[in-house]
Subunit: 125 residues, 6 copies
């Protein structure tokens, strides 16, 4: 895959995931304020070359992201990916189930924080 | 669900997940050495009441476990759940894809450790 | 212990620990919004079967919780358990000492966050 | 080094690093509210005996602090040390570069949180 | 407290805690290989000024250390402090109870690793 | 920067950093076993587009990596980057100083693990 193809896939996947997220809340907007070239490289790599791979369904990919961000306790990023999970077709029950399950691995307090974020996102939409 | 029903589900789900894991490597064996009652409670809760819920497919559940244990860097537990993931029908490509993806959230070194565990489990089976 | 007995112990231990915490701030209230059955299972397991064991005094148990939540940096959950620690008879000096001590294991910044939470809880009571 | 010498170095290094931070936001102020003697011991140890060592330049030392606090996701403490980094002569480009680099080790979400803190500090100064 | 008094307390507390640990396994031995002065400062601070404070009993202090090192997953350091806990009078049941309890905060896999360390230390003694 | 230029920089920077590390111990070798294309993408991104940027000196960059991997407790990856730090001209005193300093942020046990890795690498070279 060359950079032009990666750029196309980046755009398409970003639209699919983050259409309900405001531009100024996207990491890309933040990166660009500090380094335009690296912002582009990071975006092409993560969204274009990683998320757009079609090895596993987007629903599975987003539930995996939800699980990872829950156990790491990264609530701001989790908010974006709960949007993405809902946008690709996960139900709120799927997302809650994943968060509850991770309490076994990452502890109950991290899961509680994630459930609060889920509640907040659902209230907003 | 009463305790008898939970016990049945615990047995059935444990067989489904961990048939390829030696008894002495299972957490239950370790817990029992310290506290038989709590060992039973933990096992009924985690395996019987959590894993046996049929809200999401077992393949998704195990990929979520793989993601969580990768970013938390818990290689011993990860080994058991890579077995479980393969036993419920995930392919090694699915597992590798999930591990690679988590490098974005939990960093590349944690993913590298997980890939080594995957390689080790595949070599053993 | 059967579920009825666990339910009784859950109620009694929850009263002992969290009488000064508003209902809507308790994890149980949050869990119930997503899954009533699992909320009950989690509550019976954690409060009824774990916290109500009388193997170590409640004061020790709560100081252990304070230490764990400090090094993991989980300030929201810590708030609840600083209440619980004070409610079972720990002094504010005990709690501060535990937080200071954990700075050796989990670093000074995590301890600073916990001291701020302690200060906040003391101001509220 | 005796305690008097450590105290002098503590004062001098604290001035160098934290002149732009309000007193009530410094950890020392927080520690003193709970234990005056331990507050002094901690301060003499960390600032007087550790930071004032001249084994590596202050700019390198502060970039190392920025990296550590980024991957650990400790935004409140990071704010103080972004001030310190700027006060000893690091540029905002140096700090951004360090934060971007740590995304490889501690994940992108932790780096995003740190970039937001950097943006906030730059806006304040 | 001056440095001479701290040195005396360091020696006394180190004897109380680590009499069953080989010298070459103690952090102090490791620190000295890299920096003799800092090794002494660290030792005086942690053992002399922190552990020797008599604000909470040594048994509570060691259980707090066990909890912290369990949720942080630091098995090598945990080994030393399980020795210390047993040396100051904690029973193996106390230690196991603390580890089981932390599974709620730091997850079950971290607790499993700690139980293995406990088993190992008990086998050695 | 196009992919060909990134590939050149990747090779050059990898030679500079990892000439003393065996090929089979490099992450790239591990990645390739699971996915050749993603292995190449990861390598071009991390080594070619991130490490080869000349915004901060290679010595600073490697000390930052040492600090990050120490507080995250990733000893296998740390080993590779202690090699890299020595290969670009950091002294063992610099590396030890950085590890000692991080004990304030990530705790003393994580620093102890890192010092053991440093000792091991120095013994091998």
């Amino acid at each position: 895959m060359d950079d032009r193809e990666a750029a196309e896939k980046t755009g398409k996947t970003a639209d699919l995931y983050f259409s309900t997220v405001k531009n100024e809340e996207k990491p890309y907007a933040l990166w660009k304020e500090f380094d335009r070239e690296l912002a582009k490289d990071l975006s092409l790599f993560i969204t274009g070359r990683m998320y757009s791979r079609e090895k596993i369904p987007h629903t599975t990919r987003q539930l995996i992201t939800v699980a990872s961000l829950t156990v790491l306790s990264r609530p701001e990023e989790l908010k974006l990916h709960i949007h993405a999970a809902l946008n690709v077709g996960c139900t709120k029950e799927d997302i809650a189930e994943v968060i509850f399950q991770t309490s076994v691995y990452g502890g109950v307090p991290a899961a509680n924080t994630a459930l609060k974020v889920l509640k907040e996102v659902l209230a907003e939409r």
